[in-house]
């Protein structure tokens, strides 16, 4: 299969394992948390490198975010990306807005034979950006892929279904969203990390209103965003021995009628 240019859509998010506090309704969630790569985008990055090894394609990584995202973009360069593009724009938690910006960035930098991104962002959990970018660019797409293999006719792709898995052949140009089962992202070597430090991060400015608008209201009408009231207080079952604790647990479950 011929693949000259491949793009990875890469997001950095407030650490999803952190505590998300909302002090006001219009608060930016997780704004005080450290930024980390959105986990499935790392799977997308690994899948890109595997395709590069088979096709010698050029990998461009696109990220919307603040300059704080740079160290994570450098890491994609160390993993095997050829260029990293940072679009300094605040799209907040608006997936449609992000899709519009990314589609415009790809249109300006492409064409791309293959576009990869994570199955969903670790913060919004929407899974909207990949499909919408593909449709805005008129590309075929397939979501939630769990394995990608380069073959002569195209990409042979695995995807889970209810009770098993499906196999597809995907001809470029195609966008695939990548799930966690697909691979384990590699650890770049120290040499590659050092080399990546010398590669400049490309800055790009996008006019989000240029190009065709995506369907649906431009902005989500979010009425509220809040942390749910704590899901049940945990009763710690005390006891001096493990036997005491086991007894306490079984009694508690029986009292609830759960056993």
């Amino acid at each position: 299969m011929e693949c000259r240019n491949l793009a990875v859509l890469f997001k950095v998010v407030p650490d999803p394992e952190g505590v998300f506090e909302m002090t006001a309704p219009d608060d930016v969630p997780g704004k005080s948390l450290p930024l980390v790569p959105s986990v499935f985008d790392e799977n997308a990055m690994e899948a890109a490198v595997v395709i590069k090894e088979a096709t010698q394609c050029r990998i461009s990584v696109f990220c919307i975010g603040a300059p704080e995202a740079e160290p994570m973009l450098r890491r994609t360069l160390a993993m095997g990306a050829d260029e990293a593009v940072l679009i300094e724009q605040d799209v907040g938690w608006d997936s449609l807005g992000a899709a519009r910006v990314l589609a415009a960035a790809l249109r300006a930098s492409g064409p791309f034979d293959v576009v990869l991104c994570g199955r969903e962002a670790a913060d919004t959990g929407a899974g909207l950006v990949g499909p919408y970018v593909a449709q805005a660019l008129g590309m075929s797409f397939l979501t939630l892929t769990t394995g990608i293999k380069v073959e002569d006719a195209g990409l042979r792709v695995r995807r889970n279904c209810d009770g098993g898995h499906d196999v597809f052949m995907c001809r470029p140009p195609v966008l695939l969203t990548v799930s966690g089962e697909a691979n384990r992202p590699r650890m770049p070597s120290v040499i590659k990390v050092l080399q990546a430090k010398k590669i400049p991060i490309r800055r790009m400015e996008i006019d989000a209103n240029a190009g065709p608008l995506l369907p649906g209201p431009a902005k989500a009408q979010i009425r509220s965003r809040a942390t749910p009231s704590t899901t049940g207080q945990c009763s710690f079952l005390d006891g001096t021995t493990a036997a005491d604790k086991a007894t306490a647990l079984l009694n508690a479950l029986r009292a609830e009628g759960a056993l």
Partner: protein, 329 residues
């Protein structure tokens, strides 16, 4: 223009019957359609309409879409999207409902884009509020709850186990709604090759279990899972694992609970040596009672648990087994 009042449910019926999540969708659809004074229409992909009209009627549907090609086996993204768009023309829905599963997550964005509707993903509840639809959904694996209001046409995916499916009512068969054939397709960029069934019903059994016992990374070895299986058997529970346990081959992938595995909501969920990472909790936090056994008192799992035991599983498991077997004797 009159506001559309109908609700179209699109589900995966490739197993030949309506699944639990399809019944949940129809239950929600029924309440929305009653509030909108409209119909519930069902497009079941992978099944022939006549085979499910009785089931669909009992589960809350008024009409079942009969569309050429809808009963094809396997998943044909572009063809199924074209059929669903035709069904939208025939059914004129105010809202199109999918499950937040493999089918829904691929098809819903195609349909939302195709009809120009707003797409609300990962919903845990949807209600009619005046002229608008109020969608409640979660972000960051349930750490945030978002209420989004949609005035126009909407496409939504509903998280499995978010609502209780109503008991089947034997009122009448659903009527058949004929859907005109989809226009001929240009060559497809994504071509379905084959489907391999491999779980022997494990995921479905897990979904329906009243008690689930799950082992995490802290179990440490495949041998430890043999012990856990004993506990599952003693409790009459289904055995599951976290993604880390599956990745290490301690338990098959079709028994994984979590975001990329099965979503469960049993009466009792016993998490043993599971840290409680977000991706895992996304698959089990609707359980009625969560029990956590973990040696780390700071493990996030305790934030979700109703009962917690801070101890090594190696100490607690034998005690639980002994006491359960003593109670049985």
């Amino acid at each position: 223009m009159a506001i559309a009042r109908n609700v179209l449910v699109v589900c995966d019926a490739s197993r030949g019957h309506l699944t639990a999540s399809a019944r949940e969708l129809l239950t929600l659809a029924r309440s929305l359609a009653d509030a909108l004074a409209g119909n519930v229409d069902l497009l079941a992909l992978g099944a022939a309409a006549p085979n499910i009209v009785a089931d669909a009627g009992a589960a809350g549907a008024d009409q079942v879409c009969a569309a050429d090609g809808a009963d094809r086996q396997g998943y044909h993204p572009e063809a199924f999207a074209a059929i669903t768009l035709r069904a939208c023309e025939a059914a004129t829905p105010r809202i199109v409902l999918f499950a937040h599963d493999a089918l829904g997550l691929d098809l819903a964005p195609r349909v939302a884009f195709g009809i120009g509707a707003r797409w609300a993903t990962n919903c845990i509840g949807i209600a009619v509020e005046g002229d608008a639809l109020r969608c409640e959904r979660t972000e960051v694996g349930g750490k945030l709850q978002v209420v989004e209001v949609i005035d126009g046409q909407a496409v939504a995916t509903l998280r499995p186990k978010s609502i209780d499916a109503r008991a089947p009512q034997s009122r009448r068969d659903a009527r058949v709604l004929a859907v005109p054939a989809a226009p001929p397709q240009a060559a497809e960029g994504v071509v379905f090759v084959e489907r391999r069934m491999e779980d022997g019903g494990a995921a479905e059994e897990l979904e329906q279990a009243a008690i689930v016992v799950t082992g995490g990374l802290g179990m440490g070895s495949p041998g430890a899972f043999a012990k856990l299986r004993e506990l599952a058997e003693a409790l009459g529970a289904s055995l599951a694992g976290s993604k880390q346990a599956v990745d290490r081959g301690w338990i098959p992938a079709n028994r994984q609970v979590g975001l990329t595995g099965t979503t469960v909501a049993p009466k009792v969920y016993v998490a043993v040596a599971v840290s409680g990472a977000l991706q895992h909790m996304a698959g089990c936090q609707k359980s009625r009672t969560i029990v956590a056994i973990n040696s780390d008192p700071a493990a996030p799992i305790f934030r979700f648990a109703r009962y917690g035991i801070v101890a090594k599983w190696e100490e607690v498991l034998p005690e639980l087994l002994a006491q359960l077997s003593a109670a049985r004797a």
